[in-house]
Amino acid sequence: MARFAPGDNVTVRRAFPPGHVRTPYYIRGKTGSIAHVLDSFANPEELAFGRDGLPKRPLYRVRFAQSRVWADYSGPAGDTIDVELYEHWLESEEIT
């Protein structure tokens, strides 16, 4: 059961563990919104060590305004970046 729905504002957890992590460094701590609820998949962080990665985790496409990701972003305000992120990396966030 996916915790988040399209349009929900979410923040990527600010954690930096070693291991096989599919949450890109540049997006940690950033806030965006759910663009798409994807299927659930086995956790790659566990699969990487030969374990089964179960239970499957919901995966989301999260859309971020580029101006909120890069302090020096030089493009227009409408430019965005979508990143696929697993639910356990996301926290609920209200943007004021």
Binding site: F16, Y25, P44
Partner: protein, 111 residues
């Protein structure tokens, strides 16, 4: 903000130069590496998972990652994973590598 928690393969946002848009034609051994990876990870065998192969590359370390080509990294990861799982041993691998090198050298001398 320091990059202390960033792993070398995790490249988004780093400073880098212009994109070299040229390509290279793929020699036979690179195609074989692609094929080998597919054969080992496909549903028929599932010997090594794709994430295990990726982790193997990530664990090469920053210097190796930078120095090695794409296919050199893949063949190293495939080999390390097979060794780790005990599917092949270093001993037999070393002997076989010497054998193929000798055969190639002998083939070269014939020309």
């Amino acid at each position: 903000m320091s990059d202390a928690g960033r792993m070398h393969h995790d490249m988004g946002g780093r400073d880098a130069g212009p994109v070299d848009q040229g390509g290279h034609s793929h020699p036979e051994w690179e195609k074989r590496v692609d094929a080998l990876m597919m054969l080992l990870s496909n549903n028929k065998r599932r010997l090594i998972g794709v994430d295990e192969l990726r982790r193997g590359i990530e664990e090469l370390g920053a210097e190796n990652y930078s120095k090695m080509t794409y296919y050199e990294r893949w063949v190293s990861s495939i080999t390390h994973n097979l060794l780790e799982k005990g599917i092949i041993s270093s001993d037999e691998l070393g002997r076989k590598m010497a054998e193929v090198e000798d055969a190639a050298r002998a083939g070269g001398e014939k020309d």
